[in-house]
Symmetry: C2
Subunit: 705 residues, 2 copies
Amino acid sequence: MSLSFFEVASLIIALIAFGFAALLYNWVKKRPSSNERIAEVGKLIRNGANTFLKKEYTTLAKFVGVAAVIIFIFLPAPIWSEKAEISKNLLMAVSYICGTIFSAIAGKIGIEIATIANIKSAEAAKSGISPSFLAAFRGGAVMGMAVVGSSLLGVTLVWLLTNDATTLLGFSFGASSLALFAKAGGGIFTKTADVSADLVGKVELGIPEDDPRNPAVIADNVGDNVGDVAGMGADLFDSNVASMSAALVMATALDTVAEGEMNTSMVFCYAAIGLLSSIIGVAGAKMGKKGSPTRALNNSTYITTLIFAVLSAAATYFFDFEWRIWGASTIGLVVGTIIGIASDYFTDDSKPPVHNVAKASESGPAFTILSGFSYGLLSTLPSMIGIGVSALAAYKLCAPLGEATGNETEYALFGIAMAAVGMLSIVGMIISNDAYGPIVDNARGLAEMGNLGDDVLEITDQLDSAGNTVKAITKGFAIGAAGLTVISLLGAFITEVNLAAAEKGLGTILTGFDVMNPTVFFGLLAGAAIPAVFSAMLILGVDRNAQRMVAEIHRQFKEIVGLKEGKPGVNPEYDKCISIATVGAIKELIPAGLFAIISTVVVGFIGGVEAIGGFIAGNIVSGLLLSLLMSNSGGLWDNSKKYVESGNNGGKGSVAHKAAVVGDTVGDPFKDTAGPSINTQITVVSLVSSLMSSLFLEFNLFNLF
Amino acid sequence: MSLSFFEVASLIIALIAFGFAALLYNWVKKRPSSNERIAEVGKLIRNGANTFLKKEYTTLAKFVGVAAVIIFIFLPAPIWSEKAEISKNLLMAVSYICGTIFSAIAGKIGIEIATIANIKSAEAAKSGISPSFLAAFRGGAVMGMAVVGSSLLGVTLVWLLTNDATTLLGFSFGASSLALFAKAGGGIFTKTADVSADLVGKVELGIPEDDPRNPAVIADNVGDNVGDVAGMGADLFDSNVASMSAALVMATALDTVAEGEMNTSMVFCYAAIGLLSSIIGVAGAKMGKKGSPTRALNNSTYITTLIFAVLSAAATYFFDFEWRIWGASTIGLVVGTIIGIASDYFTDDSKPPVHNVAKASESGPAFTILSGFSYGLLSTLPSMIGIGVSALAAYKLCAPLGEATGNETEYALFGIAMAAVGMLSIVGMIISNDAYGPIVDNARGLAEMGNLGDDVLEITDQLDSAGNTVKAITKGFAIGAAGLTVISLLGAFITEVNLAAAEKGLGTILTGFDVMNPTVFFGLLAGAAIPAVFSAMLILGVDRNAQRMVAEIHRQFKEIVGLKEGKPGVNPEYDKCISIATVGAIKELIPAGLFAIISTVVVGFIGGVEAIGGFIAGNIVSGLLLSLLMSNSGGLWDNSKKYVESGNNGGKGSVAHKAAVVGDTVGDPFKDTAGPSINTQITVVSLVSSLMSSLFLEFNLFNLF
C-alpha cells in the first residue's frame, strides 16, 4: 500500500470535512431553545425517525447479509471455478458490506442533526428570518459534510487497501443497494404521512397544515426526516461514490497503459477540491436581514461552483494534468447548472408554468393535473439535450488524449466519467441545500404546534418555499450526474466483459451496442420498461399505505372525544400513525428494490451481455425521462398550490385551491418517492451488470442456441 | 409496367373491398329511422363534422402545397445537384400529394357513413341490442373496408406506376404527415368538447351526459366523428401504408440480389389475404339476442386472425414462399393479440385494475390519478417485452434465409417488416371495431336527445362500454405495429444512407448504431424527449381550448333565459361551441406536427446520419412507453368511471364518482389525443429521416469539424 500525495490529500480533506461538520453541529446545538411544547413535539419526531430507521436497517441488514453471501459465492468469479480466489470473493463481500454501512451511517448522522436543527430553526425564527435560516442551513451542512466526507473517505480507503477497481464497484454497489431501499422506504413513509395528513386535515376538515389535532402530523414531520434527509443522504452518497468509482475504473485502465498514476490522481484531486469548495461555500453562506433565502441558497451554490472551477484549474496547471479532462469536468458542472436552471424555470413560482397551472386549477383538478403533467413532459427536453450534449462534448474533448496510445474510446469514456465527477463536485453544497428543505419544513410544523404566532409562521413559510425551489436545482444535478455516471459505467461494463472474454481466450468480443442488433434492441425495450414498473410499484405502495392511514385518522377523529374541537388536554394517538407509516414502508420497499435487481439478472441470464448493454441504455433513457417528468411536475404542483395559497386565483378555500391541493397530492409521491428513486435504480442496474458481467457472458440462454 | 399475379390479385381484392363497403353502406342506409328530433340532431352532427373537415383540409392543403414544393426541390436529390433528375423529383412530389389525398378521402368516407350509422343504430336499439349492434358494426366496417381497400390500392398503384421503393416512401410520408395533423386536430377537437361538456354538465350542474340543454353536447358528438372516426382512419391508413412500404423497400433490395420477385410478391400476397380475411370476418360478424357485444367484437377479431393464419399458410405452401417469412408474420399477429390482451387486462371492468382504481377513488381524485397512472406504467411492461421479443424472433427466424447470399441482415429486417405486416394484416377488422366505438357513442347521445327512453339507453350504454374495451385491444395492435414498422424503417434508412454513400464513392459507411458512439447517444436522448414534448403540446392544446369552451358554456347558461331549467323551445347555441372547438383545433394542430418534423430535420443537419439513428431509436423507445402509458391509463380511468356509475363504490353522485370523473377527464386527452398520435409521430420521424438520408449525409454540422 503506497500512499500518493492525492490520496493523502483526499483523506485529509475528508477529515477536515468531519471536523467542520462537528463545529457546525456544536454551533447548531448551542442555539437557544426554550419552548416546552416544541421540545416535546421535537422529541416525538426524533424518536419516530429513530424507530423507523432502526426497523428499516434491521430489515435491510437481513437483505445485506443474504446479498453478501451471494456475492461471496459468485463474485468476482464463482468460488468453484478454476480462476476463483477465495480471498478476492471475501474482499468483494466485505467491500459490499462496508458500502452499505457507510451509507447507513450517513443517513443516521443526517437524522441526528436534522431533528435538532428543526427545533433550533423554529425558535430562532422568533428573532428574525436570518438566524432561523442559518440554523437550518448549517444543520443541513452537517449532513452535507458528513455524506461527502464519508464518501471520499470510503472510496479512498477501499482504493488504498485493495487497489482494485472491481472491488470498488462492490463498495459502490453496497452504497447503491442500500440507497435504493432507503430512498424507496423513506419516500413511501414520508408521502404516506404527508398525503394522508393533507387529505383528511386540509381537504376534508379544513384545518391548517401542521395542526396538532391531526393524528398524522407528527408522522408527517418524521417523514420529512426519514425520506428527505436520510433517504436523500443515502441517494447522494451513492451518486457520489458511483461517479468516483466509475471514473477510477476507467482511470486505472488508462494508467496501466500509460504506466503512471496521472488519471487516478486527477479523480482524487478533483473530488477533494470539490469537497474543499463546498466547505468554503458553506462557511461563507449567509443571508442579509432583508435578503431572500432562495437567493442566499442559490448564491452559495454558484459561488461554490466558481471556486471549484478556479481551484481545479489551478490544480491542473500546477500538477500538469490534462486540460482536456479539466474541460470535461467543467462541462459537467456547467451543464448541471443549466439543467438546474431549466428545472427551476418549470417550478419557480415567479415563472409562467406555475401561474398557468394555478390558472388552470380554476377549472378544476383535472386541468391542474393535465397542465402540470404537460409542463413536466416539456421540462424533460432541455435536460435530456443537456445531458446528451455534455456526454458528447466530454467524449469529443477527451478522445484525442488517446490518439498516441490507440485508446481514444477509453479516454473519451473517462472524460464522460469526469464530467459526472465535475457535476457532483459541489455535492457537499447540494446536500446542504437539500437537507435545509426538510429542516425548515419541520421548523414550520413546530412553530405551528408551539403556537409561536403568525409572524413567526410567515418567516418559516418563506424559508420553506425557498427549500422547494432550491430542491428543483439540486435534483437536476443528481439526475444529470446519474445519467453521465451510468454512461461511463456502460464503458466499465464493456471493459469488464472484454477482460473476462480475454481470460477465456475469446479476445475482444464487445466494442459497443448496436441498436440494429435485435438482442440489443430487445434489451433496450425491456430496460425502458423497468423504471416505469419500478415507479409504479412505489406509487402504488404509497397509495395503499395512505389509504390505511386515512382510515386510521378517520377512526381517531370519530372515536377520540373532543379531538376535532381541539379540547385542551385531548391529544391524538400520534404513534399509531407513525407505526402505520413505518410498517407499510418496510413492507413495500423490498419488492420494488428487488424487482430492479432481479430483472437485470434475468435479462442478463437470458440475453447475455448484448441484451444487458441495450438494457442499460433503455434504462438510462426512460429513467431520465420519467425522473425528470415526475420531479419537475411534482415540484410544479407543490409550488402552484403554495402560489394559490398566498392569495392568487381565488386564494385559500377557492375552487382553484382545492384543485391545486389535488395536484400537490398527486405530485407528492411523484417528486419525493418515485422520481428521485429512479436515479438510484439506474445506478443499481448498471452496477449489477458490471459486477456480473463475466457470469452473463458465460451463462445465458441465447448462448445455448 | 408489367403486372404480376399478386399485384393483380391485390387490385382485385381492393376492388372487392370497395364493393363490399358499398353493399354495407346501402344496408346501413336502408335501416329504418323515423324520429324527427334524432334526424334533426343527426344533421347538426353531420354538418358540424363536415364543416370541421373542410376547414381542416383547407388548412392542411396549404401545408401540403408547401411541403410538396420543398419535396420537389430537395428529394430524392436537390434539383441543382448533378445526379438530380427533375422527373424523379416531380414523381416524388406527386406521390407525396397522392398519399395525402388518399388519406383525406379515407377520413371523409368514414365521416360520411358514421354520421348515418349513428342515427340508424340509435333507432335500431328500439327493437333490441342485436340490430343496434349490427347497424353500428357494419357502419364501422364500411370505414374499415374503405381504408384498407384504398391503402392496398394506393400502394399497389404507386408500385406499378413507379416500381421504385423510394417513391413509395414519399407516398407513405404523404399519408403519415396528413395522419399526424388529422389525428392531432381531430383529437384536440373531440377532447375539447368532451372535457368541457362533462366538466360543466356532469360535474358542475349535475345534468346527465348528452343532455340537450348542454351547449357542448353536439360538439361532443361531432368530436367523436372527427377524432375517433376520421382521425383514427387516417392513422391506421398511415400505419398500413407504412408497414407495406417498409416491407417493400426491404423486399425490393432482396429481389434485386435474388433476381426474382419472390419477396415483393409475398408482401402483396399477405396484404391481400389480410384484407380478404377481414372481409370474411366482417361478413360473418353477428351477435346473439342475449350475447355480449364485447364478445361479438372480440370473436370476430380472433376469427379473422385465424383465417389469415390459415390462408397465408395455404398461400405459402401453394406459391412456395419461404416458411420462415410466414413464421415472422404469424409471430407479429400473435404478439399483436397478446399485446391487445395485456392492454385489455388493464382496462377491462371485470379485472382488478379497474376495481382498484374505483376503490382508490373513494379517497378522492388524487388517488384516482395516482393509482390509474401507476397501472398505466405497469401496463407498458408486457407490450414492450412483446414488441422486443417479436422483433428478436422475426430477426432470428429470417436471418438464415440470407446465409447463401451473405445478406442475413437484410432478410432479418425484412422479417421484422413482415411481422409488422402480419400484425396489421387484420387491420380491416380492427378499424371496423374501432369505428364501431364512436358510432355507438353517438347513438347513445342521439337516444338521449331523442327521448327514446331508459330501456333504449341501457342498450346503447352496453354497446358503448363494449366499444371502450375493444379499443384497448385495437390500440395495442396499432402501437405494436408502429414499433415494428419503425424498426424495419431504420433498416431502410441504413440502406438509403449506404446507397447515397456509395454514389459518393464512400463505400458502406453505416452498419448500425452503437449507443457507445456519443453522437448516437446524443440522438438517443434527444429522440426520447420528442414524444414527451409532442404529447405535452397536444394536451396543452386541449387544455387551453377547453378553458375557452368552458367559458362559453358558462356564458350561455347565464345569458340564455330558461336554458338551465329546460324550458321547452329554449335551445343552446350549439354552433358557437362547435366553432370554438374547430378554430382551436385548427390553431393547435400545426405547431405539434411541425415540431416533430422540424426537430428531425434539425437533429439530422446537426448530428448527421449517426445522430438520426439514435434519434429514431430513442423516439421508438420513449414513444412506445408514453403511448402505452397514456392509452392504457386513459382507458382504465374511463372504465373505472363507468364501473362506479353502474353502482359500485357508492355509485353516481358519490365521492368516488366525482373522483372517477376527474380521472376520466385527465384520461380523455391521454387516450384520445396524445396517446394515439404518438405512433403516427414515430412513423413520420422515421420517414422524414429515410427520405432525407442523403441530405443529412452530405450536410451536417458535425461534418464540419
